[in-house]
Symmetry: C2
């Protein structure tokens, strides 16, 4: 048996976690031979409910669970964790402006970033699921100067999976026979689901098989607004599919994507002309616990405009929270260089001058 | 790749199914190499919500899903199914008497029994999760005269898992190191969680390690009323843990319990002096797609009294719905003998005169 790994989950009494935890515990994320210690984090008001969830986990008599601890603050909850799934976030309440929402979440993710920085395992992999995921991730990472920005991801895998699933249905093939789907940018309705590099069954181009009009006026807005469509039918927001996407993201990151392209919201290193220093969804492959941006995909004029639009939105979100971000210090950059030395398996041509933003490497 | 199997799930838009479906689709029930076709059944009013659930399944881009169909009646929904997980049931509404509840569910499970009888695969394995599970299962099976009563089970695995999980916690061992826990009787507060044959780490007796007083006055009522305890803390009834138990039951039934004793609500063949013809939870082992009652466990006087009490309750439930049960015909018994010939791997000493109740065999 392997040594257990520590996994923190925030928002652990919420809907996504209710799907996520029982799948992690069954070995869907890290494999049936990987014991886990679950460190569940909630706000104080949700601790009773969280206890109920923990009791249900106990009731499953999962062999892989080697411990469950419950925490009402991240400084306790993140102690020694190898993985952090940050699900909890402040939802938009009635009458709340977008700026208020960003600020409310900035407070949460600043604290959690500091907590990860102080108490998490130095190789922690953190995935932000709580919305606005990309900007929350930026805030998180900037508050954790001793960790590498590439140890943080924002989840765009649900958008990726949705694209693949809906496309598979359209083409009448198994979704796993499709490769090369990319979701670029922000996890928001500005995201750009790109099929131009997608292939079916290892060869045929997808874009040749679908109508351009369908792609641009049906498929694209459907992916961008899929969350709303689910709410309309189910009466509740996506939870099980979001949990599955979180698992998929973490599993591929930890165990490899087996040569397949996956979309991950990661710190931009300037690839494809995207501004450095924002968390933007890029096409990646994962191996040996690291990810790397696929750098050589073709993006046509339409795609470039789509990519710019979602980048613009992320820059605006960043501007809205900039006054809350800690300054980057030379020291923190130095730390990074040290802490990540020798971990990457990829030749990633890191620009020493922008070490803070070295993106496509590590963890 | 194996041929896909067809799995029907009723109550597919409800809470248990929301946990169950995404685990089946990920291969937790029948393995990562077993494609599935999901045939989801709901009441007409829940079809929109069900569509939302199906969309979320699509959004996960699960390679194992080879099809999803949505049905508002079991005659369509059960066509050709190899597995049926009967989750949907009528909950007790305010002011409803127990007899009304039994009758309301009798209507549902009579229809579903007829549907399985008419359209399901002849080797179907059906698991009743919807409460009152044991008596619903009786009604189901009696309405399916062409299928063997041993193709139907009522779920007591949640009670089994709870016993194992809570005991593991008490003893400070992994729940999987415990074997021989048995839950006898009805899935209701009269159930008898029996630790007298349980061992830890393949040897030491559990009952020698726990205080008798703790066992009788703390552990037993806690297991019997665990459902209420979960509701108290979580504010909602057990769903993910019930789903996990359903998976565990089906997986062991289909793929084997690897020599471990599991509790299954099955048709009584008179073993341990339990009245024939009710669905009662017995200790079983599973192999080659069949289960067999473990017949030689010792039951002390205390245990016998506990077993009688829960048997009595099941006989009362049966009496309450007896007027709704179809008569057993000689012809249906003949069918059974033919349809199950040569399927069992066990020497089970079936009494030809009571073929309807031959229990510890097949499926
Ligand atoms: N990135 C994606 O693709 C994606 C997809 C779906 C949902 N989401 C987002 O995921 C988040 C969670 O969704 P849900 O359906 O589980 O919501 P939910 O409201 O059911 O659960 C959220 C939980 O987080 C907890 N929480 C709030 N602040 C917290 C804090 N500071 N620390 C710890 N816990 C905290 C709440 O108490 C609640 O239990 C939402 O922000 C949602 O918008 C993201
Ligand atoms: N055996 C056990 O250990 C165990 C454990 C927990 C829950 N349960 C029982 O499982 C059942 C489901 O629980 P839940 O939390 O999912 O409830 P739920 O109310 O969330 O879902 C039940 C679903 O069943 C549907 N339904 C009702 N009648 C139906 C019919 N005739 N055909 C198809 N669908 C129908 C409803 O529309 C609803 O969507 C309940 O009866 C509950 O008491 C059993």
């Amino acid at each position: 048996m392997k040594q257990p790994v520590r996994i923190a989950v925030t928002g652990a009494a919420g809907n996504i976690s209710y799907s996520l935890l029982f799948k992690i515990a069954a070995g869907e994320m890290l494999g049936a031979d990987q014991p886990v210690i679950l460190q569940l984090v909630e706000i104080p008001q949700a601790m009773d409910k969280l206890r109920g969830v923990a009791m249900e986990l106990e009731d499953c008599s999962f062999p892989l669970i080697h411990g469950i601890t419950l925490h009402d603050n991240p400084f306790d909850g993140f102690k020694g964790v190898h993985y952090a799934m940050l699900v909890g976030a402040r939802p938009r309440s009635k009458g709340m402006e977008r700026a208020d929402l960003l600020e409310a979440n900035a407070a949460i993710f600043s604290e959690q970033g500091k907590a990860l920085n102080e108490v998490a395992n130095r190789d922690v992999k953190a995935l932000v699921i709580g919305n606005p995921a990309n900007t929350n991730c930026l805030i998180l990472s900037r508050n954790a100067p001793d960790l590498n920005p590439s140890q943080f991801c924002a989840m765009t895998r649900l958008d990726h999976n949705r694209s693949q699933g809906i496309l598979g249905n359209k083409l009448g093939v198994n979704p796993s026979d499709i490769d090369g789907v990319v979701v670029w940018g922000n996890h928001s309705p500005t995201m750009y689901p790109d099929l131009h590099n997608a292939t079916v069954l290892g060869g045929e181009s997808v874009i040749d098989q679908v109508d351009e009009d369908w792609y641009k006026t049906e498929f694209t807005p459907r992916i961008q607004k899929r969350g709303a469509e689910i709410i309309e039918w189910r009466g509740l927001s996506s939870a099980a599919s979001a949990a599955q996407a979180g698992l998929d993201h973490m599993r591929d990151w930890a165990l490899g994507s087996e040569g397949k392209i996956v979309s991950m919201g990661i710190i931009s290193d300037g690839s494809y002309g995207v501004a450095k220093g924002i968390y933007y969804s890029f096409p990646c492959i994962c191996e040996f616990g690291s990810y790397q941006i696929i750098k050589d995909l073709e993006v046509n004029e339409y795609g470039q405009a789509m990519m710019k639009k979602t980048e613009q939105e992320l820059l605006e979100e960043k501007a809205a929270v900039d006054h809350l971000l800690p300054a980057e210090t030379a020291e923190s950059r130095e730390n990074l260089k040290t802490s990540t030395d020798g971990q990457t398996q990829f030749d990633n041509g890191i620009d020493a001058a922008s070490a803070y933003y070295k993106a496509d490497r590590i963890c």
